[in-house]
């Protein structure tokens, strides 16, 4: 079978999940107590506007038919119209998406850069002082509110020491890297506890394995041993854990974008919440859902690529 067939098969299996995601996004509107249209319009509600929304969303029709309408529009790339901006939701999302993607990747890279050395230090001498020190980090990090850390970093490093811009996206690739460093660092720190823990555990597992003894018995020197034998095996379970927690990575960006005023889809979503712009909220939630589904697929592919015992003929 081959990599392409594997990906396609997985994609097919994901379709029911993706459909489910759309169903939930669709249903959000129906959880609103009372008349959704009236609630959403709030103080702007006039009978004419309410009627307009009812017609736009087909709220008079049976549920299934509404969903069909929703899906029909979706497939044609129509996520509705923003109530606040009056422009298509899809356009809003595509213009804001790159920032968020940048942030996610940046945070992921920083997260790895921080976690791997720490996990290595801890695993190299189990139960020693350095191990305990490193293990405290996740304990503190798990309970740390991301937005709080964001505020503090912002206040100290951006406002006070002026090392970074306080808010915004910057311009040009270097500008982006500079401006997004603090937000990415915040998200990375939020991710680190989970990654450090699982990496440390899998490294300890690997270090105790027989094939490491074989490699030592072969006289393989330290650094080569670590990279080719230990790390190469230890990342496999860690990739799975990372995949499972990707939801948190992505979710963390939402609040961080808010604090640093980055023009990403998370910020878009929160602002839309305050502006009671439901179609945008629904659209962003949907996009998030699909994104996570795709990332899970990527994780599966990565896992299969890394572990030859799994391979693509499954």
């Amino acid at each position: 079978m081959g990599r392409m067939t594997f990906v396609i098969r997985r994609l097919l299996l994901l379709i029911p999940t993706a459909v489910g995601v759309t169903i939930i996004a669709f249903f959000l509107i129906h959880l609103i107590p009372g008349d959704p249209a009236a609630t959403i319009l709030g103080i702007h509600a006039t009978p004419k506007r309410i009627a307009l929304l009812h017609q736009q969303w087909g709220l008079n029709r049976p549920l299934a038919s509404q969903y069909w309408l929703f899906m029909d529009r979706l497939v044609h790339g129509n996520l509705g119209q923003s109530l606040y901006y009056g422009v298509p939701v899809w356009g809003l999302i595509t213009s804001h998406l790159p920032t968020t993607l940048w942030l996610i990747v940046y945070a992921g890279v920083l997260g790895v850069v921080i976690s791997v050395p720490l996990a290595m230090i801890a695993a190299s001498r189990k139960d020693a002082v350095r191990d305990h020190i490193v293990r405290v980090v996740p304990l503190l990090g798990l309970g740390m509110p991301a937005f709080w850390l964001a505020l503090i970093l912002q206040s100290e490093l951006a406002v006070r020491l002026q090392l970074f811009p306080v808010t915004g996206y910057g311009s040009g690739p270097l500008g982006h890297l500079h401006a997004m460093f603090l937000p990415a660092l915040t998200v990375a720190v939020a991710l680190c506890p989970v990654v450090i823990r699982s990496l440390r555990a899998s490294m300890l597992n690997v270090l105790g394995a027989d094939y490491i003894t074989t490699a030592r018995a072969k006289g393989v020197p330290g650094h080569r041993l670590f990279v080719r034998h230990v790390l190469r095996n230890a990342v496999i379970p860690a990739v799975t854990v990372l995949g499972i927690n990707i939801g948190f990575l992505v979710g963390g960006t939402v609040i961080v974008e808010q604090v640093f005023a980055l023009p990403g889809i998370g910020n878009l979503m929160i602002n839309s919440i305050f502006q009671r712009d439901f179609p945008v909220v629904q659209g962003v939630a949907l996009v998030f859902g699909i994104m996570v589904v795709l990332v899970n697929l990527l994780t599966d592919v990565a896992y299969a690529s890394l572990d030859p015992r799994v391979r693509f003929d499954r």
Binding site: I24, L31, L142, G143, P145, V250, G251, I255, A285
Partner: protein
């Protein structure tokens, strides 16, 4: 196989420790429990610790620093920070501890059904899990709270609707393994009803993992509550809460850093206590698997 395979290994035998033995010997568990006890005492016994009222404004004494009268100073409306910290803890912890129960119960039930019966029940429930899990936790919570309206009630509903999945997965996994054990077969051949088997035989054995997870879940819930309140979607003023405190104080970060910093530290410390307990329990109940 050679015939010279005499009795096992000499010297290094390690017997598996009996389950509840020596819980007080686990440093993590002990430290966490003590820390949590201190926190709970201060938070529940707030009226004993501080004489101020969290809502009393004193516009003559706004934004004061640390002093003998106000241990952590006052905020922009002259309210005593220390008092608000304790009462805010009450609000947040109360909701978090209560909020963890509903997903626990719902998830355990669904997970048990999925694991025990398998087949279509399993497929449907796990599909549902996949779908809910596809949304980032916060995104879904925020969207749900927005839709349902701000306030504690929405928080409970949102957390329940989103949080049950982890418990379902854990319990299902444990049951899949446990139902092959001999005592289950014995119960089934003894003619016991499925419900009875699940409730009285399987559940007590598999619930431990869920309880351990619940510790980290409470931490997550605290973070969710605090984040929602920071955004203005959670606990509404004037009810004191750590999230609103952080939000209120953020404009004064450079001058009066304690207003925003201290509540965050409170969250971290509470999270630390709960994580220690969770880790300690995990070590205790499954030795050698930290």
């Amino acid at each position: 196989m050679s015939a010279i395979s005499l009795a096992g290994t000499a010297g290094t035998a390690e017997r598996a420790q009996p389950r509840r033995a020596r819980w007080y010997r686990q440093p993590a568990l002990l430290a966490g429990a003590v820390l949590l006890a201190i926190i709970l005492f201060m938070v529940i016994g707030a009226p004993l610790v501080t004489s101020y009222n969290p809502d009393t404004q004193n516009l003559n004494a706004t934004l004061q620093g640390i002093s003998g009268q106000h241990w952590l100073g006052t905020d922009q409306e002259g309210r005593d920070t220390f008092t608000r910290l304790l009462y805010g803890g009450r609000t947040d912890l109360q909701i978090a501890f209560l909020a963890v129960l509903f997903p626990f119960v719902l998830g355990t039930i669904l997970g048990s059904l999925a694991g025990y019966f398998g087949g279509w029940v399993d497929i449907i429930i796990m599909r549902l899990v996949d779908i809910v899990v596809a949304f980032p936790f916060f995104v879904l919570i925020i969207a749900l709270v927005f839709v349902l309206g701000p306030g504690p009630r929405s928080i409970y509903i949102a957390i329940t609707l989103v949080g049950w999945v982890s418990y379902a997965r854990i319990i299902r996994g444990e049951i899949l393994v446990a139902k092959r054990q001999e005592y289950v077969l014995a119960a089934q051949s003894g003619g016991l009803s499925n419900l009875r088997i699940m409730a009285r035989h399987l559940l007590p054995n598999v619930i431990t993992q869920a309880i351990i997870y619940a510790m980290s879940d409470i931490v997550q819930d605290i973070l969710a509550i605090v984040t929602l309140s920071y955004l203005g979607l959670g606990i509404q003023p004037p009810t004191p809460d750590w999230g609103t405190m952080i939000s209120d104080g953020q404009n004064f970060l450079t001058t009066h850093w304690q207003l925003t910093t201290i509540p965050g530290i409170a969250v971290i410390i509470t999270g630390l206590a709960l994580s220690l307990i969770g880790d300690g329990l995990a070590d205790l109940l499954r030795p050698g698997q930290s």
